[in-house]
Amino acid sequence: MTTTRAAAEPRSPSAALSGRCLYVYGIVDRPSHPALIAAAAGGAGLDVTGAGRVAAVHADIDPDALRVIEPEVREGTRLAELARNHDDVVSALARAGAVLPMRLGTVVADRDLLAGLLADAHACIADALDGVRGCSEWQLRIDPTSCADEDRRVPAQGRPGSGAAYLRARRDERRRVSAADHRLGDALDALDEALSFFSTAVRGALTVHHPASRAYLVPNSVQESFVAAADDGLTRLGQLRCTARLLGPRPAYSFADVRLGSVDSD
């Protein structure tokens, strides 16, 4: 395990092409014993590199194994395998303790470079780890455009009638659409307020006009209450025939707000 701070000197991107490199899954608390990490993630080949009170969990890989050339994205392809493996390891680490997930495909040339990156952003990483400790991420996804509420549909074109009749019809249609938007907006606001009450942080925005998602960071100790609150709000959205899903609990991907290697990382 690397314990000293190493200078993160710029490297050529081609550096990883000529030999092995480290595929990084996530950042956890240190000390983190490699054997415990491997056991938690359910697989061999995982190791840790630390700096201060944080450590990155990684595997030694051949970068060529990461080249994805399939023209489609579907189950059974290399990308699907990479994505699922990444998420499986991160999820296993999250079940064992606090973890900041890395984005898919993050590779670093060697341990010294990785330790340097961790050391340079140490304060920022430690704060982010503390922020997700004991919490899980839940995602609310909605698609208002698929809302089957007839009042929200665009009115039919070419309505016959006089100018006055046209104006009345248009006014009535706009009022119906506006009222439907308000109903949906009120339902979303109520659901968001209920979910936010149990959350320590949120990301993303909900809108009645576009598909959107919002992430909630929820302490594990109140997740049953969170889910119960979600049930009520989702039932209301269901009555409005709006497509919505709540997914969780998951590792806190949306709350890993850390950029390694940037000058302002800490």
């Binding site: 000197e9 710029p10 490297r11 997930p101 997740q223 989702l234 969780g248 290697g261």
Partner: protein, 110 residues
Amino acid sequence: MSQPPHPVTHIAGGAVSRPSGGGDSLADVLERVLDKGVVVVGDVGVSVLDIELLTLRIRLLIASAETAREMGIDWWTGDPFYNSGARESADETRALRERVAELEKRLAGS
């Protein structure tokens, strides 16, 4: 630390599904791991995968757009920032609304 409950998916309307084995759809997994998480920026990290992933994302958005839509990955289609068609459509819609409003104003005044 309290253990989180088993993975669940709640769907509007009261249906609650518990994926077998706690698994997510591929679309859900990709949505998480492609765009979120800690990143290494600049030339400090090895960027070979940045290039690969950029290619992958472009492929997701262009070459396999239909596949992605079938998988439920279609967030860009209605977002004017990512979709020039949506941007043009939004502009056109705005112009038409302004025109209709003007015509209605004239009709009301006549």
